[in-house]
Amino acid sequence: MSEGNGQEEMGSIRFPAEILSVVAPDLSLKRHLDLGLRPCLRKFHEFKNLTLNVKSGLSRYDGDVDGESVTDSPVLGSSVIKSGNTTVICGITGGIVEIANVSTTTTSDDHDDSMEYTSIYPVVEISRGKLNGAPTDEEMILSQQLYETLLHSKILPKKSLIIDNIALKTNDDTNNNNNNRKRYAFVLYANIQVFSREGPLFDYCYGSLVKSLQTVKLPFIHFTDEEFIINDNRKNGGNVKPEIICDSEAYNQLKINEENINWSLTFGLVNNDDGKETIILCDLEGHAEETCCKSLINVIIDKNLKMRYLNIVGGDENVIIDENIVLKTVQLAKNRVNNILN
């Protein structure tokens, strides 16, 4: 300790860029914008590079060309997306559910009450070095958003998952199983692993989900009289006896509505210094951008470049969101989606 005379110099502190973006994200953003740049050093309308891999080696049928090299992985479809530092790995697995033999009689001539399309049950896990398995709010919200978005995108028809041809794999022909009128359908689960969380996470997760879905193959189904005991990880019950088992090799490609394949893009809106001009930022990335851009536009565009979802968040009261800015954003999105999907 120096015996100061109470006249300590208050010098200014200089922060490196990455520290400044954490301690004063607004300042970091503003300084970059003034230079015509962004904290991530991309241009305003520049998207992040993106690589998509649908032959990730995770799926059961990935290495398969001739039905000779099926692995025993339970993954029916998968994909890996890399963008910047972020890696998103999506694996789709399946389950079998008895379709409730409960029906309602409806006299009304309306369309069917229930939707013709269904969705996948996703679980998003973002690795961030935390012990214990309880999902964070962000993970829960992402999972739910993925579920709802895929459903409303009308990509996965319910009837594609219904199992209508079940081969009877029983030696005992006298025991006719005809009175067993139980019907079954597949349910699909997605497990999405996110490494190095950065940037527009929903866009990547949704992209990997849709891409994986396109690769899903559903196995052939048999009834069995063998006593199989398997360990069901998800239930407390432990051992269950499946009535049906899946063929290890034979499969069908999952039929999806290709026309509705779509892609999500999120944009941030900020005001530049004088507040007159609104700047659109593509693929928000990093702390400064993600915390300071409170006004957001999320657009989902399908293969035919039609808008399927539009979400405008006017979080920043200084950013006026008018028709012009939305149209501009949508156009940016369409160009990008055209590049990615077509």
Partner: protein, 283 residues
């Protein structure tokens, strides 16, 4: 009442997982054909994951492992004079974990409800975690990091081998991540793994075959089969930091010595490769 998990989308409660009939023998063999005295090729990469202090990625056949290390990072609370090491190994939830039957024979409760030790880890996950933890406890200079913690997160993304062979790969992945995190250690840990068949005194190095224990009721009991993984610090006089043996028979002292010897050979072989990779990546 079954309490519904309200934080995950689990889908219909009455759904059962897909059960596949076994992949036919010849086909599975075809991919994995490898002489018994050879070590399989691996693909390694470090530093892929950015939001941690060190990471590594290993692909061996269809087995994929990712390790992230967070630390040394400060801990809250009272002063401690050396770092706390913790390890958490997780399989992706849909993977069937090798040697499931072992865990099921030892505990009749299912995986999720297993609350002893670390929350929500299965028996297998816990066993791997504690093996790795004990290996690295004796290797890291923990006293250099007072009031901190070092956390190792192991993620098994895909698995196509038996338990001890997987552990062998996990050890290497962790070692690489440890180097990437630049945590001061006595040495780099590598290990060797083999399967010993007592009946014909046969040794399979780096056995890639899966265990035939899917089904307890008609389990294929292989007499006199022993699996062994031994982890070393090869630059420190081949000190052993980890030893794990699974099997259904006893071992004579001299045989054991021989087996450890073979594991050490394998460990050194792998160490050479890892050294090569690390030097390469420096340039």
């Amino acid at each position: 009442m079954n309490v519904q998990d309200r934080r995950r989308l689990l889908g219909p409660a009455n759904a059962s997982p897909i059960v596949f009939s076994d992949v036919k023998e010849k086909k599975s063999k075809k991919i994995q054909a490898k002489p018994d005295d050879e070590i399989s090729k691996m693909f390694i990469n470090t530093g892929l994951v950015k939001n941690c202090d060190g990471s590594a990625y290993i692909e061996v056949g269809n087995t994929i492992i990712q390790v992230s290390i967070y630390g040394p990072r400060p801990i809250r609370g009272s002063f401690i004079d050396k770092a706390i090491l913790s390890t958490e190994c997780r399989f992706l939830p849909y993977l069937s974990q090798p040697n499931d039957s072992i865990s099921r024979l030892t505990s009749s409760t299912s995986l999720i409800t297993n609350y002893n030790g670390k929350l929500n880890l299965s028996n297998i996950e816990q066993k791997i975690s504690s093996y790795i933890e004990s290996c690295f406890l004796s290797c890291i200079y923990l006293e250099n990091y007072p009031k901190s913690s070092i956390d190792i997160f192991i993620k098994i993304l895909s698995v196509d081998t038996n338990l001890l062979n997987l552990v062998n790969d996990v050890v290497h992945c962790c070692s690489l991540a440890m180097v990437d995190a630049q945590i001061e250690s006595k040495d780099l840990i590598t290990s060797g793994n083999l399967r010993y068949l007592k009946s014909n005194n046969h040794i399979i190095m780096d056995p890639k075959c899966k265990d035939k224990d899917k089904d307890i009721t008609n389990e294929v009991v292989e007499e006199g089969k022993l699996d062994l993984v031994v982890s070393f610090m090869n630059s420190r006089n081949d000190e052993i930091v980890g030893f794990w043996c699974e099997g259904n028979d006893t071992l004579e002292d001299d045989v054991l010595e021989k087996l450890i010897e073979r594991c050490n050979d394998m460990s050194k072989e792998i160490r050479k490769n890892i050294n090569f990779y690390l030097i390469e990546s420096l340039e």
